[in-house]
Amino acid sequence: MMDFRPILQIVGLILAAMALAMLVPAAVDYLSDDLDWRVFVASSLVTGFVALGLILGTRTGAREQLSIRQAFVLTTAIWVAAAVAGAVPFAFSALKISITDAFFESMSGLTTTGSTVLSGLDSMPHGILLWRSILHWLGGIGIIVMAVAILPILRIGGMQLFKMESSDKTEKIRPRISQVAGGITTAYVGFTVVCGVLLWLAGMTPFEAVNHAMATLSTGGFSTSDASVGHFKSPLVDWIIILFMTIGGTSFVLFITPWKRKRWAILDDSQVRWYLGFLGFFALLLALWQWAVNDWSVHDSVRHALFNVVSVVTTTGFASTDYSLWGGFPQVVFFILTFIGGCTGSTAGGIKVFRWEVLFAMAGVHLKRLMHPHGIFVIDFNKRRISDQVVDSVLGFMVLYFLSFAVLALLLTMTGLDTVTALTGAATAISNVGPGLGDVIGPAGNFQPLPDSAKWLCAFGMLLGRLELFTVLVLFTRSFWRE
């Protein structure tokens, strides 16, 4: 039997952090004389109480290492517990939304998806809006730490490639991990602050600036307005958000002490190059389309094309305009872009650029082998050889990704959704993008009209995609629970 105590203890610590975070919107609401502050305080107390209970009730004395199985259970448990805790303020606030909606919103926040069931955001109490952004922001940092510290060790879908190299043999590994985590957090906080300040200077109110900065860096996509970023109608705001979404989709490890690296070290990373290449190519394509077919001005087409392409590829989900009205071609492009995703170790979801690189290389190897059947070909990534094991993991990941997408889409159609909503809803949930296509869940709509069962399915899809599938799916294998 597995020892659940260390798991529960860490979950308790996370919940305690959530309880503290809830005090921020409580304070904001209190200062702006909104009665919702009581809800936040109460939620915070309840969460804190549960957290304390977990922490104190599971003291084991000895500090053991977690086994692999425990690590898997822990990763999933943290996200589910945090999502439940995050849903409490929604459920009891003045919004009067159902438990399903509250959980959906909270899960969408924590996984930095950005699909929402709420409308009328512009007139909503500040506390709730802030809480949504805080969920994004906490979720974002959680993902980066997970991608850097946990997934490589658990060998999820080829992430073992990114095991931290202890290049300096004398340095102990443990301090190095905490040093890296510290560096990443610094970079994350730093970028958020810079982004917030710039947005404020560009004309947002401080409250809007803070919210959007948090939702941008975490590539989340919750906005303070129903019209998303399109509400501000300010090219400057658009450009700032484009820049910081792009940063949010880049590997954060590269931002640790950049001055110690060569000047353009970030651009030397092959994953970043591919990522920027994808962004540039598709933005150009769509800008051309908008300019040639829909007769937009050059600046408008470039700005909106870039904004929405970056938003979808980094799985943010902001919209500067309702791109579902652009016509057939952009819709197909946006649907396909949903699957690409950002870099590893970023806050973006999706399949991730490095897996596409591996796949592309594999197709190339197959092509070469066709002509030289007995040749030996290897796949390089960032000038390092990739072992067969990594390649196999990546394969397994891709297959499960598309399988999960197909199954989720089928299940969604069974709840009565139409084809486009089901297909794009499944894609957007698993890739943590946010809005789908079509009349219901497109950039101009929201997820409110979906049946409850569909919301639970989407929430599960978000969790699945966020934890890179394997972490969750392994819990459903029989041999996991056998000793």
Binding site: I336, L359, V365, L395, L410, V474
Partner: protein, 482 residues
Amino acid sequence: MIDFRPILQVSGWLLCVLAAAMMVPTALDAALGHDEWRVFLGSAGATLFVGLALVLGTRAEWRDLTVRQAYLATTVAWLAPIPFAALPFVFGPLDLSFTDAVFEATSGITTTGSTVIAGLDRLPAGLLLWRGLLQWLGGIGIIVMALAVLPVLNIGGMQMFRIEMVSPSEKAAPRAARIGAGIIGVYVGMTVVLAILLWLAGMGGFDAIVHAMSTIATGGFSNYDTSIAYFDDMTIETIILVGMVLGGMPFLLFFHLAQGNWRTVVRDQQVHWYLTLLLLGSLAVAAWMVRSLGEDPGTALRQAAFTVASVMTGTGLVTVDYSAWVGMPVAILFFLTFVGGCAGSTAAGIKVFRLQFLFANALVQVRHLLRPHAVLIPTFNRKAIPEDVLESVMGFLFVYVLGFACLAMALAFLGLDFVTAISGAAAAISNVGPGLGPTIGPESTFAPLPALAKWLLAGGMVFGRLEMFTILVLFVPSFWRQ
């Protein structure tokens, strides 16, 4: 420099065969007194002339094809007949444009079944027969290619299906020839049996023959605009259903069956998966029809099974206008379009075995998470799947998805709407036939599409039919360097 002579010679022979095939509709039209027979005769003459010129002009001493020559020969052998097969469409009473004619011919030879011709019911018999014949010949071509060529060329994991030698004493070449002859025998035999059954079930003799050819080749051309719904007969539907399902099975197994080796057939995992998917899909769609459309269960199951089998095997014959469906069945059909049939069948798509390989690997990966140091090997039919096969399959799948995405984007770029672009690209690459939506759905034709879109779709059909890499390899610079 690659020696082109053997390649041209192979193409020449194929053109001669095509010219011979054109004599069949010529004879039919002449017998029925249609003026069309002159067109067919003229086309046959032109084709034969070019074919003979190629054969005679390239006589050379050559024994074995090199790998490069084999790739070129495969691609050229599929491309060369297309313009000639299009001749009767251009010069016939239909007066199709060159684009439309090539589209129709490509759709026939690749057994896709997308058509640009409306008003089939009034078409002269010769042209209808020609469409059926094209599919039927294409079907044979595919099986021969899948058995003899692709495994040797290692395309997309097909190396798992190299014909194993039973005993070392047996010579390879005679055995391969024997198997090849046996399989073509099975193909012809099945077509004849199917035609007779259809005739007994009440179809006219001519209709029975054309539909039998179209069914076994999993093609999808019909003699009527409403396709099989025209007959509205349960026996006919059941016969065609069985024919389509058989057409999507590995033909090598029928050869084993003919040898009395039924154990291999029953145990074949690919067939298990294939039939299971068909069954599950049919049941789900039928359940949806009962619940949402209020059909009675019998009718629902009959229509659902037919539609699911037709789409999954890439046939494209229809009994019911499924473009009016919404939600679940559409998603099921869309996904099954990609799955396709078994290896070595006339069906296209990704093929069931590739998905099995990948699924086996994914399962192994999940188990690997718990036991990082265990050696776990994915298996198929109780044989280990080698690493390079897995990589080939994944490379194949990647190019498949990439090809689909590019084609869909290009189509949408030409102004097609979302559903038409996505489903049209899928239907072309998987050689299904009809797409979804009001423009190219089962009730309509591809005629209204812009000419460029037709060329793209025709390209997609050939690309999908030749399993991508056969064509793709020609674009690698080092292919042409010596």
